[in-house]
Assembly symmetry: C2
Homo-oligomer: 259 residues x 2
């Protein structure tokens, strides 16, 4: 078995379940730290900043994390947008549907806000989305703006059930524009490529760890990175039995994994 040098780790279902702790997850991260191995949390959450994500891990789950450990579609999308243009990104403009986590990353690049005729429209999860925002995004994309969706997750869990995720919000704009978005988050390889280039690790000695075959494991497969499925979240043994492309490794809990 490969001695992985870098762990790319999902959050919900892998490090915790909503507000509930997964005790083996904290122990797993402690063991990575003891061996001085690299790890990054690859989440599809775009609503929070890296610092907010790290604070939640530290304060609510006692998992050692700082903002540098966190990789989100917000950061990867901001990087993608910066690289879209030959000249300086501050010569260009964007319209964003999303929460502060996404907006701070995108406008942190220096790109200008433009509600009418932007170069790029970025759509992610927005708990305050309105018809007016959908109208602005639709008209801008129809005028020729490049259309990015942060991530395709159709749902996310909250205390009331499975509520609409970024992929649902994006699907409205895909229908109204009759265009597919360019996606960045898991299972797209873009978020891994961003992590590799930003953090400077070797993907050949990295492993993607997660509970969800359709996001985490497919992302590893798409990026050519080995994968470790942990059965503490979404995917079941029955789900995996149906898949022709299996995870590299499978464990019931992270306690079963020797780092």
């Amino acid at each position: 078995m490969m001695n992985y040098q870098t762990y790319l780790i999902d959050l919900d279902g892998t490090m915790y379940r909503g507000k509930d702790k997964i005790p083996e997850a904290k122990i797993f991260i402690d063991r990575l730290n003891e061996k001085n191995l690299d790890y990054y949390f690859l989440t599809n959450n775009t609503t929070k900043t890296p610092q907010q994500v790290a604070d939640n891990l530290m304060n609510n789950h006692q998992i050692t994390a700082d903002a540098k450990h966190v990789v989100t579609p917000s950061l990867a999308t901001a990087d993608y947008v910066k690289n879209m243009f030959d000249d300086d990104v501050s010569n260009h403009s964007a319209y964003v549907i999303g929460e502060y986590g996404l907006k701070s990353a995108i406008f942190g690049t220096g790109i200008k806000l433009n509600e009418v005729d932007p170069d790029v429209v970025i759509v992610g999860l927005d708990y305050d989305v309105t018809y007016h925002k959908f109208e602005l995004a639709t008209l801008a994309i129809k005028r020729g703006a490049f259309f990015i969706g942060t991530n395709a997750d159709t749902n996310l869990p909250n205390e009331r059930g499975l509520v609409p995720g970024a992929g649902s919000v994006i699907s409205l704009v895909e229908t109204s524009t009759q265009q597919k978005a360019k996606y960045i988050g898991k299972p797209e390889r873009d978020i891994v490529d961003y992590a590799v280039s930003e953090k400077g690790f070797d993907p050949k000695t990295a492993v993607m760890v997660g509970d969800n075959y359709n996001t985490d494991i497919k992302c590893g497969l798409n990026a050519g990175i080995e994968t470790l499925l942990v059965y503490t979240g979404v995917s079941t043994h029955e789900d995996i039995a149906k898949e022709t492309r299996k995870p590299t490794h499978e464990v019931e809990s992270l306690d079963q994994w020797d780092v």
Copy 2:
């Protein structure tokens, strides 16, 4: 050529173009009235009440119309909902995303409003739609509520361009619930079946008149009603050339049609 007794007539693109008049349309309706022929306006607009639709025709286009001439997916959906239950509709409940035209029709049946655990969720165009409304609809449908979409139009024109229509709003809920809605408006035959039973005309001597192949003409084809395409709106000669199922009749303008 058949002497049609009943004309089912589209509005935007057929009777007017947005705020712009189509003079032949007023003359056409005047000719129908001279011959004492039946006519009904079959629109996919769910935001306005029949009286508001008739007032717009009368006041802004000098087209003779009263509320009884107007058939909308709001009315047809209300009728569909009434017929869903064996017992009285007032024993049941609904959650509605839509404007007043839709809500007044649905709650006019006597069905109760229920945001948490309704029997049926109805989604249509809502200029004040929010994430919260999408969340309520999603959770209710996932709990088992029957899912109705008023009409599938992806866009509608306004003075700023082609903005999101009911079909776009509904697609968000289809994605978040992973379920297809039951549609009522054109091109579904449900709205015609409602008109036939409510107005009491013979579909064999009726004709569907409209400018849009994908809504008006397909609706006639689905309902087994003859069709008259008028080239004053969306569909072009090139569009119709590609279709294997042609309209029964085609005219450049309604002036060319002998009633």
